[in-house]
Amino acid sequence: MSHRTLGKEETRGNGAGKDAGTPRSGDGLSGGHPLPPPPPAHRYIGKSVLRTDGWEKVTGAAKFVDDIEFGPSLLHAYVVESPYAHAEIVRVDTAEAEKVPGVVKVVTGRDFTQKFGLYMKDRYIFARDRVRFVGEQVAAVIACDPKTAMRAAKLVKVEYKELPPVLDPVKALDKKSVLLHPELGEYPHVPWFFPKAGTNVAHWRKTRKGDVEKGFKEADLILEDTYTVPRYAHCAIEVHGAVGLYDAAGRLTVWTASQSPFTQRHGFAQALAPLGISHKDVRVVTPYIGGGFGGKAGVSMEIIGAALATTVQGHPVKVMWSRAQEFYNTYQRQGVVAKLKLGVRKDGTITALEHTLYWDAGAYVEYGANVVNAVGLSATGPYRVDNVKIDSVCVYTNLPPGGPYRGFGYSEFGFGLESHINRMAAELKIDPVDFRRRNAIKGGDTLCYGAHMNPCGLDEAIEKAAKEIGWGKKTKPKDPRKARGKGVVCFWKAPAMPPNASSSAFLKFNEDGSLNVLISGMDMGQGLLTICAQIAAEILSVPPAKIRVETPDTDRNPYEWQTVGSHVTWGCGNAVKKAAIDAREQIFDLVQRTLNLERDTLYLEDEKVKCRTQPDFGLAFKDFVIAGIEAEDHTFKGGPVMGRGMFMPEFTSAISDPETSQGGHPNVHYTTGAAGVEIEIDRETGKVKVLKAVLAVDLGKAINPDLCRSQVTGGLLQGLATVLYEDMRFSEKGKLLNANFSDYKIPTALDVPDEIVPILIEVAQPDGPFGARGVGEHTMIPAASMIANAVEDALGIRIKSMPITAEKIALALKKAG
């Protein structure tokens, strides 16, 4: 079945397509009434209401994990780390550390035997037999205060036998390469991963469509080249942290800075199953988090907090990462070497694409392999290509674990692809924007794995972005030492999720008619709490200011898989919408049965139930949503109104032919867009100044336009930073050299473009709440390639490796003479 049909059915089945106050006529559940007039304009959807968490954040009331008080029984843990990128652990001697006054316990790999991992269980809580990256946790000291833990950690003696480190993903493929995971063949993994036992290949996603040989024969121009992208760090300003408490009765509570409370609960329960802990005994509480960007998804260091707690029953134990640890022992964005071959006809039509990507996935790929997988399914970019061959290869290396980072691989392959397109357009003397127009994907097109493209406004995005950046018009710098250039590129991205990733929501009315909405989607700054309030507000006619939506607690809040992939506005938003509709239906039921009003005449407005046929009727929520409605005999009917909503995309499937990826429906939808930039470069210093950046994105429906625009300004700057400034540097022995904000710097308030213009395009997503689809990650994706193209436009030099720093430009210019 096609995506769109299912989207419609899904909507029809539960009323999710309805707006507040519209009668239910026409949805197949009631009859007799004429079709209603067109729905009224939205009251709260599409409005830039203030963030519901805004005041908490400007007053300092917002609490983050490190801010929670645990009292004097709190213990502190400090981790003993591997100094080697690759070594066998011969012996761990904890005796000296244990003697230090104030030390409660020293924990090592001996204490925990289970492996963990999101998509592939390939790592231990503490390294047991072998360390595979510099900084990997080998042991931990738990003490009464952080300083004692740190001092004692220095006394833990670990004897290693060094192994040769594998640092290059391409060399790691060599048959003679040292193996990182000789037991790879035994690791449990999701059925859509294809690890190659006896090699360093953890996963190989192959996608085949049409006939690439034929496609290349049809081409008038073929260009083949390699693009490289280094590793990057998320740099959320809050570091990772976790506090675990395994209480005397055997219940485990873990407070974490996380995007993924339920995924963590599941991970902790599985890894600690030998202790007899079941899911119901595990509770994960996630207060506000200070930025995520993918880095706080899944389970990384938090498992240390959970595991350590079980060794000091009755005491909460805290593990906070330092900024350095944040850099080298969470997830890093993976590096990639991308070999791209594109065939194009004279008129600019792409005839074939061959994309081979070797990912430097790091020591453990339990999450990162899914980045590789996602790219393997989408590395055509948002273009219609009939003949496709993609190989996306996940390679173990002795560098920190790779993992999710805003953009999930799409920025990385986009750098090469969008650069390549400009180069081919130039050779064919076609305007690069025309080239993109010609090949841009459209709703209904067949994707490279056989499913169909969702409705999308890519054409509109290209037009608007090109117009806003003044495409085709050259402007002149005032300073003769400077040169100007422009670049326009396209982007797309789908959420990468298991096919059964789901969302749910509860909604509770309070005595005064205000609402609490319980979700487990995480607000990491993007504004989910606010937009969920807006969605409930729209359905129930309660102003967002009267709705409290809080961060998750797995005991109290219903299930959400994770807040990743820019999918929670869509998934969690749908669940909230359904919960609100569920509450509304309960209200209608109650009013119908107690006041004898015809159900189909009822609607909600201004926090009241109203009736179309009785204009004078208006029953305020506060008068009945808890207390019920008093009947003539003075009995009360009803009771607390509580809505419940679930959402799962029931049309997706990850299972397909391993050799071609044909046959499944792995992605729910793509968000598409186009972006442009104008830069000015100092030819002597190589410094790039971004004069203007524009990003047009089809987000289906902007539930809160201001928050959507914030995603554009923030995401674009994060993307620009990856191309203009940042990259991770490693020593020849695999040690990260810039694990701090002095040398892995992120842009300051003085390093931003002169102007950023967000353009929001709304081609509705049929199964999205009010037509919305995700926008968070997409804003970062086009940045690198558009800078690369603008640099070429300005200077005539093509840089094929990221980042494109002032240094790289100046030296390239010097070399070119």
Partner: protein, 155 residues
């Protein structure tokens, strides 16, 4: 090691505290005074989330020993919030200036210091004043606009 008894005035309240020589001001403010708006982001003075006003000057409290601050007057975000929210906070709230909000306390204190010294800052002055406060979410523009609004009297 000899402990030090120090006197601090934090947000207008005088306190006497016993600290170790190696205790950092941010640790003492967070753990002994309870002003949790003082964040820890980088451990080495790069990120600005631990910014407090020490005798009226914005400093990195992670780079100050608590014992060094003996006799000082300290203002944290809690102190600014006390009076029902300064105009600056209101202006930032109205602009949806922050996303995750982790940088907010330090950012607001840097801006507070700026506006006290220079009530009519230019865009460049504002950017310079907060250049030591890192934010990864917003691209800074909504924060700069919020501070500018506050300077214009919230208009």
């Amino acid at each position: 090691m000899k402990k030090h008894t120090i006197s601090l005035k934090v947000n207008g309240v005088a306190r006497t505290l016993e600290v170790e020589p190696s205790d950092l001001l941010n640790e003492v403010l967070r753990d002994k005074v309870g002003t949790k708006s003082v964040k820890v982001g980088c451990d080495r003075g790069d990120c600005g989330t631990c910014t407090v006003l020490l005798n009226g000057r914005a400093v990195r409290s992670c780079l100050v020993l608590a014992a060094e601050a003996d006799g000082s007057d300290i203002l944290t975000l809690e102190g600014i919030s006390k009076e029902g929210g300064a105009a600056l906070q209101k202006a930032l709230h109205k602009r949806n200036s922050f996303q995750c909000g982790f940088c907010a306390p330090g950012m607001i204190l840097s801006a507070h210091e700026l506006l006290r010294k220079n009530p009519h800052p230019t865009d460049a002055d504002i950017r310079e004043a907060i250049a030591g406060n890192l934010c990864r979410c917003t691209g800074y523009t909504p924060i700069v606009e919020g501070i500018a609004d506050a300077a214009k009297g919230g208009k």
